[in-house]
């Protein structure tokens, strides 16, 4: 092995005090990915990223380099570290790690370096990843791709916890003059039984802090005492009494409040606006004209909004002013007809296999654009002062947000101070990696401009209408599926053609046994701003793939479950998940007026098998009464949170399947607020039973996998109930009693 990284025991000033043990690593220095791979691959398992702090009062603080959007990441990561450390869980707290390179998410980088996963395209953008400097890649604290537990936790937190424990054991052994092997460490206490001595971890912290950090071995899973047990989330108490601080709650001395109106057409420009009507209104400080937006600053949000409404800006719509959902879909179909495909994957010869099959089944599907609609609309506060740009906002990616801010404000990274606050939902909307368009953070740009104009800190809060019409959408897309069936009902040849490819790589994979398979796509069909949306490409690909599998089962005259199982001889985990969910749901029996549909998806390392039970409401629309999920994440850290992510993720997917549709007319997004973009609410929410299968495989994600299969399970249930095959979402456009469409969306 060539280059050896210097393992730097990094202490961040301000954190370290006398008698404090801080464990964390920074991998320094390296400059190219090739070199980094050499380093990481040859370096065993050691690149912990996150930080543990133990203070003399025996308290442990875990600094988490991910934002928590409600997935319980902070608690779960702390559980992993505390478990390895054998800490007393009641003495453990978490803090958001500062958006600083010292806390950069090295384990995230390592996951990719070691080939655990390929880099998600939404981080990659159009930049050639392999040509980029690793230093840039380290500039990531993203929360997305369901990576926190899989990478930071498995590769970072556990390592840091184990190292801390080893150092404390050594401190006790040396302090008492006894062999390390005679020291027991449990619940934050060190004991030496023979001499009846004991000390808290905190009492040994000072001595331990003087040691080099070892590459300590990890526990066997059987020895876990915290991981795998349900623990109350540490962030919850502040979320029931109004004290949790979200971005929108920032209040700074002298702070002003702003409202913004962006060009209604993506890419449009502000031509002119007469500011006078707003300036004349009570409480208004100023009107800021930006290239693509007008911002009104006042002494409270309401006054800013009322003043903004008094303005009549004129816009230059630019190239997108004539776009419509129809024209976009027509363009997608034309591109598929033309057939200049890129290959996603190809094994065997799908077209020949289909040609040779006695039966061929074909179907095309389409889905609309979707908005994220985080419960907390986009907002950011900025204060430009003394050569610095300070930003307060809820962001999924602290360092990425800092980089985006630096580019928006045209200042070096060092001049940016990022205060990362709680997020009222993220789902991909609040990720600002350096390689996503910085426009995505335009609320931050507006806050910076407003602060520059007033010299004060300014909080810009988007209205729901701005949030919904200025989003970065899950793309609309079209898929054409084609497969052959043999005489005995097996799939012979699988050809999956679709529009647009983002991330993750496995989103188009099928786990079913088909030797000849091709997935291919056309690009440049989506002129609307795109952003990752909970489970990214899985949202629509799972709908296409699992609906079409259902169609094939029907064409083969087979039960949809039996058909799937028959094609999973080589995928025992997938098979087990399906069998488990079928057993939970009582597959094969239905109550009168109800029927079940099944779907299965492996996403972000977790296999999710789902069954939805549908009925038809008086209005002719589908209702989902019950759901069952069997999920195999390999291993689970906090079972209660994992289940909540499965049920919550399913609600997110169900909202999309039943109601979700963003439409475009004259380049403008039509849906502006919840009455137009309806959500599943309490009365619509199915009772949902979740089983976790801990197969022992490498740990998978929780935040996104539960969303992926929902639409297909629901559409397949509707087919089982009515015989009507749903090839287009959302479902609310269909009158299932008459078999027709209720309304054009």
């Amino acid at each position: 092995m060539g280059f050896q990284p210097s393992r730097r025991f990094a202490i961040l000033s301000g954190l370290a005090a006398a008698g404090t043990l801080a464990v964390g690593y920074a991998l320094t220095p390296f400059s190219t990915l090739g070199r980094a791979r050499q380093i990481a691959a040859g370096d065993g398992d050691f690149m912990p990223a996150a930080w543990l702090r133990l203070t003399p009062d025996n308290k442990v603080t875990v600094f988490v380099p991910h934002g928590d959007m409600g997935q319980g990441t902070h608690t779960a990561l702390a559980m992993m570290a505390a478990d390895e450390m054998d800490a007393d869980w009641t003495l453990v707290a978490t803090e958001q790690a500062p958006a600083d390179m010292a806390f950069a998410n090295g384990a995230f980088a390592k996951g990719y370096l070691l080939g655990d996963m390929s880099i998600p395209q939404w981080l990659n953008g159009t930049t050639e990843f392999f040509g980029r400097k690793i230093a840039e890649f380290m500039n990531i604290q993203v929360t997305g791709g369901s990576t926190a537990i899989r990478l930071t936790g498995a590769l970072g937190m556990r390592k840091a916890g184990a190292a801390a424990r080893a150092m404390l054991v050594r401190a006790a052994a040396e302090g008492w003059g006894v062999p390390e092997s005679e020291i027991a460490a449990k619940a934050s206490v060190l004991t030496h039984a023979a001499s009846k001595r004991s000390a808290t971890y905190g009492e040994m912290a000072g001595r331990a802090a003087g040691y080099d950090t070892p590459d300590a071995p990890l526990k066997a899973k059987a020895d876990y005492t915290i991981s795998g047990t349900p623990r109350q989330r540490l962030d919850i108490p502040a979320k029931v009494d109004g004290t949790a601080q979200y971005g929108i709650d920032v209040r700074l001395p002298g702070m002003l409040f702003a409202a913004a109106l962006c060009s209604p057409v993506a890419g449009g420009r502000l031509k002119s606006v007469d500011e006078a009507p707003a300036r004349a209104m009570r409480g208004v400080s100023t009107v800021v004209k930006m290239d693509d937006a007008v911002v009104v600053v006042a002494d409270n949000t309401w006054r800013a909004r009322v003043a903004l409404e008094a303005l009549k800006p004129e816009w230059d719509d630019g190239a997108n002013g004539s776009l419509s959902s129809d024209s976009i879909h027509a363009g997608m179909n034309a591109a598929l007809d033309k057939g200049s495909f890129s290959t996603d994957f190809s094994e065997g010869d799908a077209e020949a296999a289909i040609k040779g099959a006695p039966r061929v089944v074909e179907a095309s599907y389409k889905v609309p654009f979707l908005a994220h609609a985080t419960m907390e609309p986009m907002n950011a506060a900025a204060w430009v002062h003394d050569g610095k740009v300070e930003v307060w906002s809820g962001i999924q990616d602290g360092l990425g947000g800092r980089a985006a801010t630096a580019s928006l404000a045209d200042v070096p990274m060092d001049a940016v101070v990022m205060h990362q606050l709680q997020m009222g939902g993220g789902f991909g909307r609040r990720a600002f990696s350096p390689v996503l368009p910085s426009m995505k953070a335009r609320h931050i740009a507006q806050a910076i401009a407003a602060s520059k104009a007033t010299g004060k800190p300014v909080l810009v809060t988007w209205s729901r209408e701005q949030d919904m019409t200025q989003d970065y959408y899950r793309e609309a897309s079209v898929a054409r599926m084609k497969a052959g069936l043999t005489a005995d009902g097996r799939i012979a040849g699988w050809l999956h053609s679709f529009t647009e490819r983002h991330d993750p790589p496995e989103a188009t994979r099928i786990d079913y046994d088909v030797a000849d398979r091709t997935a291919r796509y056309v690009s440049d069909t989506n002129p609307m701003p795109w952003g990752p949306w909970r489970s990214v490409d899985h949202t629509h690909q799972a709908f296409y793939i699992e609906s079409f599998i259902d169609e094939l089962a029907h064409a083969a005259g087979q039960d949809p479950l039996a058909f799937r199982l028959a094609h999973l001889a080589n995928a025992p985990r997938h098979k087990a998940a399906l069998e488990r969910v079928a057993q939970m749901a009582g597959w094969g029996t239905n109550e009168p007026g109800r029927a079940k549909g099944i779907a299965m998806r492996e996403a972000f390392g977790t296999i999710v098998a789902q069954i939805a039970e549908a009925t038809i409401g008086d209005d002719g629309r589908a209702r989902i009464t019950r759901m069952w999920t069997a999920a195999d994440p390999g291993e689970v850290v906090n079972p209660a949170t994992f289940k909540a992510q499965m049920t919550g993720g399913a609600i997110y997917g169900l909202t999309a399947a039943l109601y979700g549709s963003i439409t475009v007319e004259k380049g403008r997004v039509v849906e502006e607020n919840f009455p137009d973009y309806e959500m599943v609410r309490m009365a619509d929410a199915p009772r949902h039973e979740v089983a976790i299968i801990e197969s022992g495989a490498k740990i998978g994600g929780a935040g996104e996998p539960g969303t992926a299969p929902v639409a297909a399970a629901v559409a397949n249930a509707v087919f089982a109930l009515t015989g009507q095959r749903i090839r287009e979402l959302p479902l609310r456009q269909f009158d299932l009693k008459s078999g027709g469409k209720i309304a054009r969306l």
Binding site: M69, D241, R303, M375, A644, Y652, V680
Partner: protein, 149 residues
């Protein structure tokens, strides 16, 4: 001048007659526990109690609440003791991102005041707030827990 009684304290505000209570609470009184979600009474994130009734504060002018008892999430606890609904919310681990939960809790408090032992149907009817994170099952469980407390 608008006189408001918020969490038992009389407050005097110099705001326009049409300013929604939500913005008066958040931006003038700095009571930020009450959240903005839609501004059009469609999501419930801004729910507060006005004389015990669950009310969407984005869609009622502050001036219309003069003299009435306004309770926000900050005023629910008694001294150091959380309201039983807040306690149930922790026990059921209801919040995910948490942003909708102030409104959900206020709606649940009003429901339980009216209907101390609600059925699932009562909950479906009363609890119409959006939770984008989809924590409905946990919220339902929390309401039943609070009812039993």
């Amino acid at each position: 001048m608008t006189q408001l009684i918020v969490n038992g304290v009389a407050r005097e505000l110099d705001v326009e007659d049409d300013m929604p209570l939500l913005w008066a609470l958040r931006d003038v009184l700095n009571l930020t526990g009450t959240k903005y979600g839609c501004g059009v009474a469609a999501c419930g994130a801004c729910t507060v109690l006005i004389d015990g009734q669950a009310t969407r504060s984005c869609s009622i002018p502050a001036s219309a609440c003069a003299g009435q008892q306004i309770t926000t999430i900050e005023g629910l606890r008694t001294g150091d003791t959380l309201h039983k609904v807040q306690q149930a919310w922790i026990a059921a681990q209801a919040p995910q991102c948490g942003y909708c939960q102030s409104g959900q809790i206020m709606a649940a408090v009003a429901l339980l005041n009216e209907t101390p032992s609600p059925t699932d149907d009562d909950i479906d009817t009363a609890m119409t707030n959006i939770c984008r994170c989809g924590s409905y099952e946990e919220i339902r469980a929390a309401i039943h827990l609070a009812a039993a407390a």
